[in-house]
């Protein structure tokens, strides 16, 4: 059921949802979501596992009946004796593929057992990928912090080893794991007596800076990005780089609609912009980024929100001010985020400042900068190398 250029994987649910919600989510996923693989099981906190036991089996069964490939998730940070025991039992209990998210499991892996490498394993270069592939890894979901140039290099390496390469395409990104439970801490509790307060926040608890800016989200011992990765607008260049699969990480809200939008975009049935619009409509509260791959940092706003993006098919990005203004007016009128906010406003303002006639006279950017940036950007990508970092910030996402 590969969706055109990509396989679609649903990652393990990171949050502590109550049992009925968990069961409903996977039942709908089985029946309605156009995805190939589902990684299921607890990867964040072993204290949640007892609550999952009852509904995990039926969920796996239902997914498999619906023709999905089920892969078992494993813990990201294994420290306790009972966690080691559980890791050992994981292999004993199943013939299914296991996704390892901690190298602990490499010591427990039975000879020849199938395994996939999860995003919390540090695969940053070809020799590391090769080492794990020789040990039997069949697929790699890369760490979310990798830049596009690394992804492209690793995708070539994965192809040489005949293994799949997946990237974190949707959802809040795991940024850190700790021995300490932050949910417990902010509720005045400790990890050992946590009262499972993480259950209250279906998508993690927002962490704001002192001036109210949304920054991170805490999920028990895990820290996530506030922004959701969203690569729905970047599938052409990802396919060009050799990425074979996209990971969608479960969130509350209409996750089936998200999966459908990615499936359509992956199959080339809808244009990137439309895919982004559909994803935003299904998750109206979410702020998106593709910054780790294409921006100056992991929180960089989605360049797809560039207001000067003309709607018609085109081969280059507009570079004169009148065109920028026209396009921005149109975008605002379209109100393409359903909650009425327009994520591109800061970006647009910054662009205007930087491309004002005065700044051009000062020689800060040449008059054809937008075109130059986009041309250099695409030629770098087709050459499989990273565009210079200085180019990334101003670069504009464009329709292929």
């Amino acid at each position: 059921m590969t969706q055109g250029r990509f396989g679609l994987t649903v990652g393990p649910l990171l949050f502590n949802w109550p049992a009925d919600r968990f069961a409903d989510f996977y039942a709908r996923l089985a029946d309605e979501a156009p995805v190939d693989r589902v990684v299921i099981g607890e990867s964040v906190c072993s204290k949640r596992e007892p609550f999952r036991e009852e509904c995990l089996g039926p969920a796996i069964e239902r997914l498999e009946r619906a023709g999905k490939k089920v892969v078992l998730a494993s813990l990201t940070l294994v420290t306790l004796e009972r966690e080691r025991r559980a890791a050992r039992e994981l292999f004993a209990q199943t013939q299914r593929e296991v996704e390892i998210d901690d190298l602990t499991l490499m010591n427990l892996l039975p000879q020849g057992a199938p395994f996939a490498v999860g995003p919390m394993i540090n695969v940053y270069n070809e020799p590391t990928l090769g080492f794990l592939a020789r040990k039997g890894a069949s697929r790699f979901c890369l760490p979310p912090e990798l830049p596009f140039a690394s992804v492209a290099t690793l995708a070539r390496s994965a192809a040489e080893h005949g293994v799949g390469l997946e990237i974190w395409a949707y959802g809040r990104m795991p940024l850190a794991i700790s021995g300490r439970c932050y949910h417990a801490r902010v509720h005045g509790l400790s990890k050992d007596s946590c009262q499972f307060v993480c259950e209250r926040d279906a998508d993690g608890l927002a962490v704001r800076t002192a001036d109210g800016t949304e920054f991170l989200a805490i999920n028990g011992v895990q820290t996530l990005s506030h922004k959701y990765a969203n690569l729905a607008g970047d599938l052409d260049r990802l396919a060009g780089a050799g990425v074979t699969s996209l990971r969608l990480s479960p969130h509350s809200g209409d996750f089936i609609a998200i999966a459908r939008a990615f499936a359509r975009a992956a199959a080339g049935e809808i244009a990137p912009r439309e895919a982004l619009e559909q994803v935003q409509a299904a998750a109206p509260e979410a702020a998106f980024t593709n910054g780790f791959l294409f921006g100056a940092n992991g929180a960089a706003p989605l360049p797809a929100a560039c207001p000067w993006q003309p709607r018609a098919k085109h081969s280059r990005v507009g570079c004169n001010l009148s065109r920028i203004t026209r396009a921005s007016t149109r975008t605002r009128r379209d109100a393409w985020t359903s909650n009425g906010s327009w994520p591109g406003i800061t970006h647009r303002a910054a662009w205007r400042r930087r491309s004002s006639p005065a700044s051009r006279r000062r020689g800060r950017i040449p008059p054809d900068s937008a075109w130059t940036i986009s041309r250099r950007w695409t030629s770098s990508i087709s050459a499989g190398v990273a565009p210079r970092r200085s180019l990334r910030r101003g670069c504009c996402w464009r329709r292929a």
Binding site: C181, V186, R208, A210, F215
Partner: protein
């Protein structure tokens, strides 16, 4: 593993001068790195050129101290040679060990330099006996630096289960997250410990007065807000003051540093081989004081005398400290 009498003191050096200071102050071993992105303290003006490293190793060996070279970032895809060259040079310079985190690099070092002693960096976050056994079995590593997520009891249990040495942090900066598995810094600034050897880099820090307050930001995110005139702490991302639900304050960790000096006897009893002091970025004076005091404490322990508590306490006077995850309640 070792008898409580033989704890090794592993000390940081960011410059050749600090290196000599550490050796003269009584370090059993000094750890340091080359001046590029191959080590996890890649700060401007810090670390060693090839010539400085070779000279320093000679100096240490003449004084009976060991040198451990950290090549503990994760090599960039397409640029692996920069990291293998660091390992090759360390081996060529007769370093006593290299401290590595990346699987590919460990594989390279084990294959290419079978005689070179390998230590697993804290950046590899090998947090249990199985993970450690994996490194030992595949690469023949001789020591693992344990991540700062473990309690003393857990460390003791690990040492019962493995047959290589363990090294633990005893003093200095404290990572709240499992090391090598944190990308908070690249999320906010684009620079990460794993890829660039830099966490919360000064290049992205900004202090600004706003409405009578002094606000420190990193990557544009406000981390601390204090009354103007007060000292604002450096905006390390995980030590910032944030809001989460009803909670206002240090969501992850207070701006504290690690001081587990009082736990030295327990750590020794737990089978730890070496105690590590953090702070390759610190001054010579700091290095000298800390190293000298810890060496005295270890000598006292080895001779069966009580550890002179006052001396170690003086090191952190006026600062807030924690014994971190070594006490289970920290979690």
């Amino acid at each position: 593993m070792t008898s409580p009498g033989s704890l090794e003191l592993v000390c940081p050096a960011g410059t050749p001068a600090a290196f000599r200071t550490a050796v003269e102050a009584g370090a059993h071993a000094v750890y340091c790195g080359f001046n590029d992105e191959t080590n996890a303290r890649n700060f401007p003006g810090l670390n060693f050129s090839r010539v400085e490293m070779a000279d320093s190793i000679g100096f240490a060996h003449r004084h009976g101290a060991k040198v451990l070279i950290a090549v503990n970032t994760f090599p960039r895809a397409g640029a692996f040679e920069l990291w293998t060259r660091a390992v090759d040079d360390a081996a060529g310079m007769q370093a006593d060990a290299v401290i590595l985190a990346d699987l590919g690099l460990l594989d390279y070092a084990a294959t290419t330099h079978p005689a070179l002693r390998l230590h697993v960096s804290v950046q590899a976050a090998a947090a249990n006996a199985d993970a450690i056994a994996f490194y030992a079995r595949n690469f023949g590593v001789r020591r693992v630096v344990l991540p700062r997520v473990l309690s003393v009891q857990e460390i003791a249990a690990i040492n019962r289960d493995i047959d290589i040495e363990t090294e633990v942090f005893i003093f200095g900066g404290l990572c709240v997250m499992a090391e090598g598995r944190c990308s908070l810094s690249s999320y906010a600034t684009g620079k990460s410990p794993n890829m660039n050897g830099a966490c919360s880099p000064a290049s992205h820090v900004e202090y600004r007065e706003e409405g009578g307050d002094l606000v420190s930001r990193i990557g544009g995110f406000a981390i601390h807000r204090v009354k103007a005139g007060q000292a604002a702490p450096y905006p390390t991302l995980c030590k910032g003051s944030f809001e989460a639900g009803e909670y206002r304050g240090h969501v992850f960790e207070d701006p504290v540093s690690l001081d587990a000096a009082s736990l030295i006897p327990q750590l020794a009893a737990a089978g730890v081989t070496a105690l590590k002091i953090e702070g390759r970025q610190r001054s010579r004076a700091y290095t000298q004081t800390v190293v000298r005091n810890f060496r005295r404490a270890l000598d006292a322990l080895a001779a069966g005398r009580p550890i002179p508590a006052g001396e170690l306490r003086a090191l952190t006077e006026g600062q807030r400290t924690t014994s971190g995850a070594y006490n289970k309640t920290w979690r």
